[in-house]
Symmetry: C2
Subunit: 238 residues, 2 copies
């Protein structure tokens, strides 16, 4: 009983951390995987610095955020991939049903900005249309198996090695896992492989971050590489 007692209050306490709009906004912003300063978060959420400070205290205390102090700055980021995944899951569950009416918005999107794939990062891996497209292409090529769960195949392991980003099982984080995309409603590749792919994509110039949000856009080189390595038609990303 006392044990179940602890689990109950632990769950409630953890949920309480995310139950406030300001703290929720902080966490969603931090899903970009980078470290933000306390002041940046305060401005982002539109609250006073003192208010933000107290919130950050609670989030750090609750183990959701990790902090690193540098001089007069207080940098915070999500504690680890597991926390990031948890927040993504919650956001996915909370996402409005968004039955997308295929009216003007779709048409406008189709005719819009050239090489812009509606992609974004989700903590440390690719998400959005781009993330889904890559994940589907890998599945179609037999690099990833989604029919019986979510795992890389041996061919998938080789593919990463050939890419120059060999995957080494490390710690508790799984090599591959599906992360439900809350805009596309389908899983995209997460886990160590997802992180490695995203890192490689940014380093190799396949895509670049745009703005301060989590958005990324595919570069021409990226289109070529994805077409060659995964058979992804450039049109898919536009």
């Amino acid at each position: 009983m006392s044990s179940s007692e602890r689990v109950t209050s632990g769950l409630a306490a953890l949920a309480a951390l995310l139950a406030d709009e300001t703290r929720a906004r902080f966490c969603l912003a931090l899903l970009d995987g980078r470290a933000w300063t306390a002041g940046e978060l305060a401005r982002h959420a539109g609250v006073a610095p003192s208010t933000a400070s107290a919130h950050i205290d609670r989030l750090v205390g609750g183990g959701l955020l990790a902090e690193e102090r540098q001089g007069r700055h207080r940098y915070v980021r999500l504690a680890d991939a597991r926390v990031a995944h948890l927040i993504e899951d919650l956001a996915a569950q909370a996402a409005p049903e968004h039955g997308r009416p295929d009216g003007p918005p779709t048409l406008r999107a189709a005719s819009a900005a050239g090489a812009l794939a509606r992609g974004r990062t989700c903590y440390d891996h690719l998400a959005g249309r781009l993330g889904i497209a890559v994940t589907e292409a890998m599945t179609a090529r037999g690099l990833l198996r989604q029919d019986t769960g979510f795992a890389l195949t041996d061919a998938g392991l080789r593919w990463f090695a050939d890419l120059g980003a060999p995957l080494a099982p490390s710690g508790r984080r799984p090599l591959a896992r599906g992360c439900l995309d809350w805009t596309e409603r389908r899983p995209h590749l997460a886990g160590l492989a997802g992180a490695a792919l995203c890192r490689h994509a940014l380093e190799a110039g396949w895509c670049v971050r745009i703005g301060s949000a989590r958005a990324v856009k595919v570069t021409p080189e990226g289109e070529r590489a994805l077409a060659e390595l995964l058979g992804l038609p450039a049109a898919t990303l536009r």
Copy 2:
């Protein structure tokens, strides 16, 4: 902006549902996968029926619970497997670090009640030592692959078919997924396959529920079956 606005409030609202101890207790109780009446939940949590009623309203309204009214009873259960998984994930994250001191408790447990495996159900699949043992045995036998993610192998698919519980991909729920066990700190089999296995185990008399909690114990027939089908030594479950 308005979109990110909605996501933020959605996340906060969802978290707020679980941020109350009483509601958290309800949800954890409902993890046994069965339907409880409003009164049962009220007694379980030690609150007045009127209080419980209001909480259930909110949980149902938030989509976490599904209700079914039968006469003067109001039955509620978790809305679906996804909600159950979310709650398990949160509980796992919130679980105290539980560095288990291997003193008396372990010794006592080792010498205790004969054929009692410390198993339990997690919504609709097996968890605890039993769930882990089964998952590990399936992995060792090549029925499940955990090194590159978490997925059944083709041999695993056949194993379920041979068992008389063929798996048919259905809807959005994945065939196999890892569910982090918050007492064992390792993933056990969840998803459709986990549910099928648990259902089969209960129907075939491999294990029976004990008490009103989520605990299950393995029967002698269960020991025989698990030894034969998975090479699980009976001692593992004791």
